[in-house]
C-alpha cells in the first residue's frame, strides 16, 4: 500500500519545516534512501563490469595494467549499471545515483514513490521576483546566488516577458557527467544534487550547465544563524566555501508534502510542483492538475531541448513566445 506522505507538520511555519525536514532526513524514509546511498562508493560496480567482460584475458599484459589502473573505476556504465539493477515490477530505479547500494536499498527501503517535476506557467508570471526572494530567504543565499532566477527577456516581437529559471533537474544532466569526483549525483526521485563534502570546486559543472543554474560559494564572509542540523545535499545550509551549490527543488519540502519555497512563495500560482509518478501538479493557489494532461493541453515546452538534457521543468508559454529567441539574441 502506498503510504502517502501525509504531513504532520502542516501547521508549523514553513521556514522551520525546511530545516526540520532535513533533521528528519536522518530518520525519514525518503531522505534516508538518499543519504544511505550517498555513503556508498561507486567502486564495486566498476569492478564487476570489468570481470564480467573478461577484459584481462582479451588484451593481455598492457591492458592488464590498464585494468589495474581501471579497477575500482566506475566506467561509463550508466546503462550497464541500470541493467544490473534488481528487476522490479515498477519503474523505481536507483535514479542516476552512483552507488552500489541499489540491491541493499531494494530489500530494506520502499521504492521511491515520487519523481519530482515542475511546471512554470509563463502566462501567469508577472516577474514580481517573489520566488528568488523566497528561495534565498529559505536557503540563506547571498543576493548573487539566485538558485531561482527570474530573467527578463525580449521576445521576437519586442515584448518583454519574465522567465523564472530553477535548476532544470535534467534527466540527462551535463553537470553530472563532467564532475570528476561524483560530487554531483541524481537521487532516486530524479533530483540532481551536490554533495558539498565531496566537491573539489573545479567548476566544470558550471561550464557544462546550459542554464547557468549553478552557483559557487566564492566568499567566506557569508554568515549563517545557528542551525539545528548539519548541511546535507537536500538542504545545503550552511553552504561550504569553495564548493558549488544549486537549486535542490526543495526536495525535503516535497517529501513532506509541502511545496518548494519558490512555488509556495509565488503569489500568482505560476509555479507548479509536480510528480511524474502520481501525475499530479499543484501550485500555491491550491490548484491541482493532472500533470500529463496539463502539459498536453497547454503545449508545454522544455527549455533548450536541443541540448538533449531532458529537463524536468516545463514551461507553459503565455503568449506563444519563442524561448529559443532570447538565447540566440544574447550579444
Amino acid at each position: 500500500m502506498r503510504k502517502l506522505s501525509r504531513n504532520k507538520q502542516a501547521s508549523v511555519e514553513p521556514n522551520l519545516i525546511t530545516q526540520d525536514s532535513c533533521a528528519s532526513s536522518l530518520d525519514g524514509q525518503n531522505c534516508q534512501v538518499t543519504s544511505a546511498a550517498l555513503a556508498k562508493e561507486p567502486v564495486d560496480e566498476g569492478e564487476k563490469e570489468f570481470s564480467r567482460r573478461r577484459f584481462l584475458s582479451m588484451f593481455g599484459a598492457a591492458a592488464g595494467a590498464a585494468a589495474v589502473i581501471g579497477s575500482g573505476i566506475e566506467l561509463l556504465s550508466y546503462r550497464a549499471y541500470a541493467q544490473g539493477l534488481p528487476k522490479t515490477n515498477n519503474w523505481s530505479g536507483d535514479g542516476g545515483m552512483t552507488g552500489s547500494g541499489a540491491a541493499d536499498m531494494a530489500s530494506t527501503e520502499a521504492p521511491p514513490t515520487h519523481q519530482w517535476a515542475m511546471v512554470i506557467d509563463l502566462g501567469m508570471c508577472n516577474g514580481c521576483q517573489s520566488c528568488p526572494a523566497a528561495c534565498q530567504k529559505a536557503h540563506y543565499l547571498t543576493p548573487d546566488q539566485t538558485w531561482m532566477k527570474v530573467f527578463t527577456l525580449t521576445d521576437n516581437d519586442g515584448q518583454t516577458y519574465s522567465l523564472p529559471r530553477p535548476c532544470m533537474q535534467c534527466e540527462n544532466p551535463p553537470c553530472l557527467h563532467v564532475c570528476p569526483v561524483h560530487a554531483t549525483f541524481r537521487q532516486d526521485q530524479g533530483v540532481v544534487l551536490v554533495n558539498q563534502d565531496r566537491c573539489i570546486g573545479c567548476r566544470m559543472c558550471m561550464a557544462a550547465c546550459p542554464y547557468e543554474a549553478r552557483y559557487f560559494n566564492w566568499n567566506s564572509n557569508v554568515s549563517y544563524p545557528p542551525l539545528p542540523v548539519a548541511s546535507t545535499p537536500e538542504f545545503p545550509v550552511p553552504q561550504k566555501l569553495g564548493t558549488v551549490g544549486k537549486c535542490t527543488f526543495c526536495v525535503g519540502n516535497l517529501n513532506h508534502g509541502l511545496l518548494s519555497e519558490c512555488a509556495a512563495g509565488c503569489p500568482m500560482g505560476a509555479i507548479y510542483n509536480g510528480d511524474l509518478k502520481t501525475d499530479v501538479a499543484v501550485n500555491s493557489l491550491g490548484s491541482t492538475v493532472k500533470l500529463s494532461k496539463f502539459l498536453y493541453d497547454n503545449n508545454a515546452v522544455t527549455y533548450k531541448p536541443e541540448q538533449n538534457t531532458h529537463p524536468r521543468v516545463w514551461y507553459i508559454l503565455g503568449h506563444g513566445q519563442d524561448l529559443a529567441a532570447n538565447a540566440a539574441s544574447a550579444s
Partner: protein, 191 residues
Amino acid sequence: MRAILRWLVAFCAALASLLIISGTAAAEGSSALTVTVQQLSPASDNLTMVARLTPAAVGQKVTFFVDSQEFSGHSWMAVGSASTNSSGDATYTYTPTWTGTTEFGAAIGSGDSIAAPTAVESFQVLKDPPGVPQSAIEYPRPMGSTGGVLVKTLLGIVAIVWILLLGSLLLVIRRMPRLAGAGESGHKGGR
C-alpha cells in the same frame, strides 16, 4: 478527522473484498448524478469511471475528478471529461497512478469553472501503477554505447605509455652500470 474517516472507508472496502463499490451523491437540482468505479480485470492497469445521470439525458458533458493526496493532501484534480450516452452514462477510462483507497468523483459540466465533483465514490486501487519510463530514470552517459570500450582503450594507451616510459628508464638504470664494465674490457681488448 478526515483521514480517520478515509481509513474507515478503506477498511470497509477491504472487508467486503469487493472490486466494485457504488455510492450515491447528492442530487443537483432535479437530476441526480451517480458515479461508479470499476476495475475491468485484476490484470488491467485501467479503471473505468461511469457517471450515470438520472433522468437520462444525452450529450451532457461530465467532468471526472480524482482526489489527489499529493502536497498537503486532499484536493480535487480534474482528470478528463466525457459526454453521456442515451442511457445517461458517461464513461471515462482512467489509469490510476497510485495504490490505496482513493476518492473518485464526477460533476456535470466542463471547463475551469467546475472545480469539485458533486458525486463521490471511494475505491481501493490495488494494481501497481505503471511507472515513468525507464528512459526517464536512466540516461546513457555521453557516448554511452561505445564509451565503455573507448575508456578501456584510452586507459590501455595510457598504460602503454607509462610502461614504455618507466620501462625505458628502468632499462637504462639497470643496464647502464653493467655496460660500463663491458665497454672497458672491450676497449682494452682492442688495444
